[in-house]
Symmetry: C2
DNA sequence: GCTTCACTTAGACTATGTCTAGTTTAGACA
DNA sequence: TGTCTAAACTAGACATAGTCTAAGTGAAGC
C-alpha cells in the first residue's frame, strides 16, 4: 500500500471511496488534456489495459465532477465534455467547426461573475463565448 | 395574403422562407414561455392542430436559432432547451432539481462580457450560474 | 482477517438527435 | 395569375448519448 496521492485524498475528503476506476479516470483526463467525452475516456482507459464498464465511466465522471476533481465544459448539443479541473476557466466554442478552446478566467475563481437577483446559492459560473474560430475565418475556411 | 408580420420579415431578412411551420414554432415558444425542448414544442404544435414532423421541429429550431429569432439555454446534459429570443439574458441552473431560471443581462447585449485572448470572432456570450435554487435549499427541500 | 455497503458490471432500455429519399410549397418571374 | 424550382417538409430508419437494474466485487472500518 503506497502513500495516498493527492487524488485519493481529495476523493476521501469528498466522502467517496478512492477506487482504482476513479483514479484511472482522473489520470486519463489529466494525461489526455483537452475536452473529452465519456466514450473517449472509456477508449483511453481500455488502451491502458483498464477496461471499465460504460455505465461506470458515466458514474465516475459524474461523481468526480461533484467532488470537484473534474469539470464539465458546456458546449451545447452533443456529448458532454469533461476535463481535469486544474484551474477554473471558461470556453470559446466555434459554431462552424465545433472546436472548443479555453478562455482564461480573470479571477481564476468559480465565482468570478456576480449574479444579481439569483434566488439561491451560486456554486460556480461558466462563461461560454460562441463565434467563429480563426481557422474557420481564414483563407482555408472549411465549409463542412 | 395578409400584411407580413414582424416574424415573417425577420425570417426573410435572414434568407429563410417564411413558412407556416417556422412561424408556428416561434409562436409556440413565445406563447409557452420558459425553456422548452424540441419534443415539448412538438407536443404544443400538435395540440394546436399543427402536427409537424419531428425532424422538421429540430430543423426549424436550428434555423430559427441561427436567424436570431430563438435562443438556446445551455444547461448541461439532457435535451437542448430553446426559448423565444426576446431580450438577451443568462441562466441559473439548479444542480439539485434541474430548474432553469433567467438572469438579467446587465448590458442587455449578446456581447456583454469581454473575451480576452480569443482567437476568432465572438458572436455572443452566455453566462451559466450553477448552484442550488431557493426551493431546494428551503425547509421543504426535495432530496429526489 | 472479517464484514459491509459503496462501487462496478453487462447489457437492456430510453432519450435525444440525424439522415435519406420522396413529396410539397414559398416566392420569383413571366 | 400561372409556372417553375430551390427550399422546406415528411415518415421513419438509424445513430448517438445516457440511464437503469440486479447480481457480483472490493475499499475501508473494525
Ligand atoms: Mn477547458
Ligand atoms: Mn431564458
Ligand atoms: Zn472553427
Ligand atoms: Zn432546485
Amino acid at each position: 500500500m503506497t502513500a495516498p496521492t493527492p487524488v485519493e485524498t481529495q476523493l476521501r475528503d469528498a466522502g467517496l471511496k478512492a477506487t482504482r476506476t476513479r483514479i484511472a479516470v482522473v489520470a486519463a483526463l489529466r494525461d489526455l488534456g483537452g475536452h473529452q467525452t465519456a466514450d473517449e475516456v472509456s477508449t483511453a482507459l481500455a488502451a491502458n489495459d483498464a477496461v471499465v464498464s460504460r455505465a461506470t465511466v458515466f458514474n465516475a465522471l459524474d461523481d468526480l465532477t461533484r467532488a470537484g476533481l473534474v469539470m464539465v465544459a458546456d458546449a451545447g448539443p452533443g456529448a458532454t465534455r469533461y476535463e481535469w479541473a486544474d484551474r477554473w476557466h471558461h470556453h470559446f466554442v466555434c459554431t462552424s467547426c465545433g472546436a472548443i478552446s479555453d478562455v482564461a478566467c480573470p479571477e481564476d475563481s468559480p465565482r468570478c461573475v456576480d449574479a444579481p437577483g439569483v434566488e439561491g446559492t451560486v456554486d460556480d459560473v461558466q462563461v461560454i463565448f460562441r463565434g467563429t474560430c480563426s481557422s474557420c475565418i481564414g483563407p482555408g475556411a472549411e465549409t463542412t
